[in-house]
């Protein structure tokens, strides 16, 4: 009977989505997106779209393989923009009403009067929402995998990882949508508050990136200034040796006094060293502040679902660290920041931040996110089980 009831709920959910037409609209858009993906190409001159070719300095087969080109497109716009934004918004619009519609007066009573437990009923309804977006992602991912296979000759089944990964990402948001929909019994409230929550996550992600960039910028600045101090110290040592060789008195040695402003012999023979040391001290002072803020934002993020990092897991899988290194080198991001620029403007910072993001464990990314989802879903289930209709 369990299988029969589950099947009936899924069929009903399909009919409901079918009636809303959005299911087919979203599916059509996904097919269109795959067609656009297939229209992209790369050759030794640059990249192409339909019959137009664009010359590109690095985006050509002399620098990257066809396979990497398509993987980059898939992980740059296919998943983070298309699946994570467009498809997700359409999916939320389509599925936000599933729970409020189910618990509306006159609809829920005949269902609850059937021999089905409330926990199973609620969780099955929740899964129907996920099934909707799962099918959409599957269509897009299989389409993109075929494009990669046919156009680049690389059959990368790893692209199908987009299905569980984007589904996990959607499920975080959908658990919020279901909770609000159940509490308020309103589709509009469920949709708007979920989008608001998504904005909060986005702000937390941005805050995390900014704080990490500030921290890494400050650390890089300390490293740079440390290096500058070492250069000045070497220069000062050379000068002291020259003084000794030439028989000149060395400030601070013997009875020779230190000039005003100098703290030791080296700074006495090289006044620039004092400035370099002061700048180093300034830079060192700013590091703990950014470390504290980065830690605070990290704690906040630990409590929230990790949407950005979850989507990032796909890129981690599809693009290796070596390939990422190569791509970063193409961007020429190895020069130090100008001293007049803010520390986080250092061109090396994004690469370091990206590495830190990549170094965050899958356990932390998925574990804490699913913990959030399970808690919220558990709370929703308790409300549903205890509510009088």
């Amino acid at each position: 009977m369990i299988l029969m009831q589950t099947k009936a709920i899924f069929i009903d959910a399909y009919r409901e989505l079918n009636a809303k037409k959005l299911f087919w609209l979203t599916l059509g858009l996904n097919v269109l997106a795959v067609a656009l993906f297939a229209s992209l190409g790369i050759n030794s001159e640059g990249f192409s779209f339909l019959h137009w070719t664009f010359d590109a300095q690095f985006m050509n087969t002399n620098f990257i393989s066809k396979e990497l080109f398509y993987k980059i497109q898939f992980t740059t716009w296919g998943v983070p923009i298309w699946l994570s934004w467009v498809t997700t918004i359409l999916a939320l619009i389509s599925t936000a009403g599933i729970i409020p519609d189910m618990v509306s007066g006159g609809t829920i009573e005949p269902v609850l009067s059937k021999p089905i437990g409330r926990v199973r009923l609620f969780l099955t309804k929740y899964l129907t929402g996920l099934l909707f977006v799962g099918l959409q992602i599957l269509v897009f991912s299989v389409g993109c995998m075929l494009v990669l296979g046919i156009r680049a000759g690389a059959w990368e089944f790893g692209l199908l990882l987009a299905v569980p990964i984007v589904l996990a990402f959607f499920s975080y948001l959908y658990s919020v949508c279901v909770f609000v929909g159940l509490v308020t019994r309103s589709t509009i409230a469920a949709l708007l508050l979920t989008i608001l929550f998504w904005v909060i996550i986005f702000i937390a992600n941005t805050g995390d990136s900014v704080m990490l960039a500030q921290r890494e910028g400050a650390i890089l600045r300390v490293e740079d200034r440390q290096e500058a101090v070492e250069v000045q110290e070497r220069f000062a040592t050379k000068r002291i040796e020259q003084f000794r060789e030439q028989g000149k008195p060395v400030p601070g040695e013997g009875d020779e006094p230190l000039p005003s402003g100098a703290v030791d012999t080296m700074s006495a023979v090289n006044p620039t060293l004092t400035k370099a040391r002061d700048r180093l001290a300034d830079a060192e002072n700013s590091v703990p502040t950014w470390e504290t803020w980065a830690s605070r934002v990290f704690v906040l993020k630990t409590l929230l679902p990790k949407t950005q990092e979850t989507i990032g897991l796909l890129e981690r899988h599809l693009i290796s660290n070596d390939e990422l290194e190569k791509l970063n080198q193409m961007g020429g991001n190895n020069r130090a920041a100008n001293e007049n620029e803010p520390a986080m403007a250092d061109p090396r910072v994004p690469e370091r931040v990206a590495k830190i993001m990549r170094s965050r464990t899958i356990g932390w990314v998925l574990g804490t996110s699913f913990a959030f989802e399970i808690i919220l879903l558990g709370l929703s289930t308790i409300i549903f089980v205890r509510r009088d209709f």
Binding site: K7, R15, G106, T107, P110, D388
Partner: protein
């Protein structure tokens, strides 16, 4: 008689404020048509929802089809039509029936066959492939009743089944109810339409203000208010009542309407003959003599008037969704 519903002391308190059920006792026997009456807010729908696990009771002991109240497995043998139901508009009536049949655990072949049979019974076969969005209220009600019968239930609970149905439809529903009874099923009806209930119910209960005030067969409930009525050609003086009382010592007697009717609380014609003679001797012209049995409506109004708080809609501050 075997009890299909047997509950005692059912209580329901909403948010520690609204006492919707105050210790209801209810017994419904197998194979009977049972009618539950009561004014708005009396707690009728709440009671039904408690039986069907839609609402959790504050206190309840008893059984439904032999299983403890709250046991979901018993619901496989129960059919339910809620008041103000709202079946998905995007489904056709055939799809509604098949869907709820599957939810009730009816095997595919059986439910496909039964769905078509039931659509035939409720005269909706021609509309089987049309979506509910295009149906009238009466048509939806017919589909709702068919839905309640999909699992071939032993107990059918119908909350206001004739709501929004035209007279022909009501007659059809009455016939369905009698047919269900003939098939040995138990039917539990919640309705405001007292005349409808009177026509089909074996037993009725009147619920007011969260309490069961009366329960029994219509004959049992009306027995103490049935009796002969003497109608005079003109209004009688108050001493005419004394004359009649003296003539039928020990039998309750009262003057009604515009003092033209004398009602005797006895079903024995012999006992009122002396009163007729005494009244005629006083020169009172008797226009007619008849036997009066109160209607269900009379009983209902009497029960409500005895507990006037229950007659006011929302008197118990009953929450939304706990309609009666």
């Amino acid at each position: 008689m075997e009890s299909v519903i047997d509950v005692t002391g059912v209580e329901k308190m909403y948010r520690r404020k609204v006492h919707a059920l105050r210790g209801v006792d209810l017994q419904v026997g197998a194979g009977e048509i049972f009618g539950l009456l009561g004014p708005n807010g009396a707690g009728k729908s709440t009671l039904v929802k408690v039986l069907l696990t839609v609402i959790s009771p504050t206190k309840c002991t008893g059984t439904l089809l032999g299983s403890k109240i709250g046991d979901k497995s018993a619901l496989a043998q129960v059919g339910y039509l809620p008041e103000h139901h709202n079946f998905p508009q995007y489904l056709t009536s055939r799809q509604v029936l098949r869907h709820f049949g599957a939810m009730a655990g009816v095997e595919r072949k059986a439910r496909n066959k039964r769905a078509d049979e039931l659509l035939e019974i409720v005269n909706m076969s021609e509309w089987a492939t049309h979506k509910l969005g295009s149906y009238s209220k009466g048509m939806r009600q017919r589909v709702g009743i068919a839905q309640a019968l999909m699992n071939d239930p032993k107990l059918v609970i119908l909350d206001e089944p004739t709501d929004g149905v035209d007279p022909i439809g009501r007659r059809d529903i009455r016939e369905i109810l009698l047919r269900l009874k003939d098939e040995g099923r138990t039917v539990f009806l919640n309705s405001h339409l007292l005349s409808e209930l009177e026509m089909v119910c074996d037993r009725v209960a009147i619920m007011v203000h969260g309490l069961m005030r009366q329960q029994g067969t219509i004959d049992e409930l009306t027995a103490d208010r049935s009796g002969f009525v003497i109608t005079a050609a003109s209004a009688m003086e108050s001493d005419a009542l004394d004359t009649a009382k003296n003539a039928v010592a020990g039998i309750e007697c009262m003057l009604e309407d515009t003092q033209t009717k004398l009602r005797f609380n006895t079903a024995n014609a012999d006992q009122i003959q002396p009163a007729i003679d005494a009244l005629r001797a006083r020169g009172i012209v008797i226009k007619s003599l008849g036997f009066h049995r109160p209607s269900l409506e009379d009983l209902f109004i009497k029960a409500v008037n005895e507990h006037p708080d229950g007659a006011k809609p929302g008197a118990q501050k009953e929450k939304k969704g706990a309609r009666s």
